[in-house]
Symmetry: C2
Subunit: 271 residues, 2 copies
């Protein structure tokens, strides 16, 4: 069975870097075509292993192929989870998660997005996240405030927290956070969930220690959450970097304030 | 801070009962206005206790007021969680959850919906669910097949399951289901999650025993999930009825097949 809902063009704000905007548009168009052409079963079929060592679903492949065309057109480099590093001799690298929430995208759960950051000299300068099912976009430049703001909450008691689903070995930490927070959601799309933190819809998002995140899962949050007044850190305090080493993993924690991030991390690490 | 995203008109299929269609349109329009006029904090403020004994948030009140206007215009009766039973002397009663996923709606998590069923002589004849943030609609008539189908999955191993967040006393049952299923999501909107079961996006949805559901939380699923080939049952086998007794509660389980519902229930009830 096909997913019978349209994928609109993303609603991009003025000022987005043209190469990043083109990649985002290409991603929405490709995912929309993929839904029309393929059943859910076909979209989630594993067609290869990505450069990061995890399996690539057909939906990932289709969208990444469209992004590859886009970056060649725009003569910029790419770092992405399936293709790895693609060198077009540019000073700019787009660090992109073509389909964040791949399983959602393949099954039809309407929570998946394109996420991309522009990186120059190892530093991200701007980031764009576009939600496929609605065209909503969140854009931020490093060091410049965004029109949207985090909630400003400082305490875990009473907080609304998005978590990754409990994974083997992290069940107890997961349960500790769930029992402290007021509301827990599991949406299975890190890039969208961190944008919900940035826009003040939820107070925090966390991987409670499964070390699932690659740099492209967190690149947009690294720019956008601080620009909106929040923080984005690794659970174990490891610094983020944009090296094209896809074996590196983090447990990302996005929070409305540094105090909330600290309390969340303490709850995970210290029973 | 306000929720700065629009609420489109619902995209209603031809054939929806005019009173139900009018209520759905009124709900989207009212929620859209509420987002423009009120901050998140104001939307979630508890302004009263509903007829069912749970607190009413401002967002619930605003949308239900618009629905009350609609049912008076259309001279039908209403059964809803805040107002209770409103008798307009009609043979038809609309059983409505004005805002399913009230917390999502108030905070801005884009997962909330209108859900309404037409009930005649105690039997539901049709049901409509409309997702506020996109206008997507799911409609079904009792006993008539829908264009969308469940996944047909029969086993919990490998399944994608939506759960209510773990509540006090149900944590162990929750963890048992989470450890068996392949993917777990917590979207906090029963009516949308059961439509994802009906359209074949996820395999099942369950309240693992917290007895949270009132009849208006399940009314649309009672019609729509079976019409799409699945089942909608109570965890403890209690029959559903449409009596205006809002003290009654169920633990709804929606599944792609009877076999999957049975296995899910067995996993919850028998450690």
């Amino acid at each position: 069975m096909r997913i019978n809902w349209p994928v609109p063009d993303p609603e991009l704000p003025a000022g987005v870097h043209p190469a990043l905007a083109d990649a985002a548009r290409a991603a929405s168009a490709a995912y929309g075509r993929a839904r029309q052409l393929h059943t859910r079963l076909e979209l989630r079929e594993e067609v290869a292993d990505g450069a990061d060592g995890t399996p690539t679903m057909r939906v990932d492949r289709i969208v990444e192929d469209a992004i590859l065309d886009s970056i060649h057109r725009n003569k910029v480099n790419l770092l992405s989870e399936e293709a790895g590093f693609v060198d077009n001799g540019s000073a700019l690298t787009l660090v992109i998660d073509p389909v964040d929430g791949s399983a959602n995208a393949a099954f039809g759960v309407p929570l998946s997005c394109f996420a991309g950051a522009v990186v120059e000299d190892g530093k991200p300068t701007e980031a764009l996240t576009t939600w496929f099912d609605t065209g909503r976009a969140w854009w931020a430049r490093t060091g410049e405030p965004t029109p949207f703001r985090t909630t400003g909450r400082t305490t875990l008691d009473g907080a609304a927290v998005c978590l990754m689903r409990p994974k083997r070995g992290t069940e107890e930490a997961w349960a500790r956070v769930a029992s402290r927070a007021d509301r827990i959601r599991v949406l299975c799309t890190t890039c969208l969930e961190t944008m919900l933190v940035a826009e003040g819809t939820v107070d925090a998002f966390a991987d409670v220690g499964s070390d699932t995140h690659r740099i492209m899962d967190l690149a947009t949050a690294i720019v956008t959450v601080p620009a909106a007044g929040g923080v984005l850190v690794d659970l174990n305090g490891r610094p983020f970097d944009f090296e094209p080493d896809l074996s590196r993993r983090w447990s990302g924690v996005a929070a409305a304030t540094p105090q909330l991030a600290e309390e969340l991390i303490a709850t995970v690490l210290r029973p």
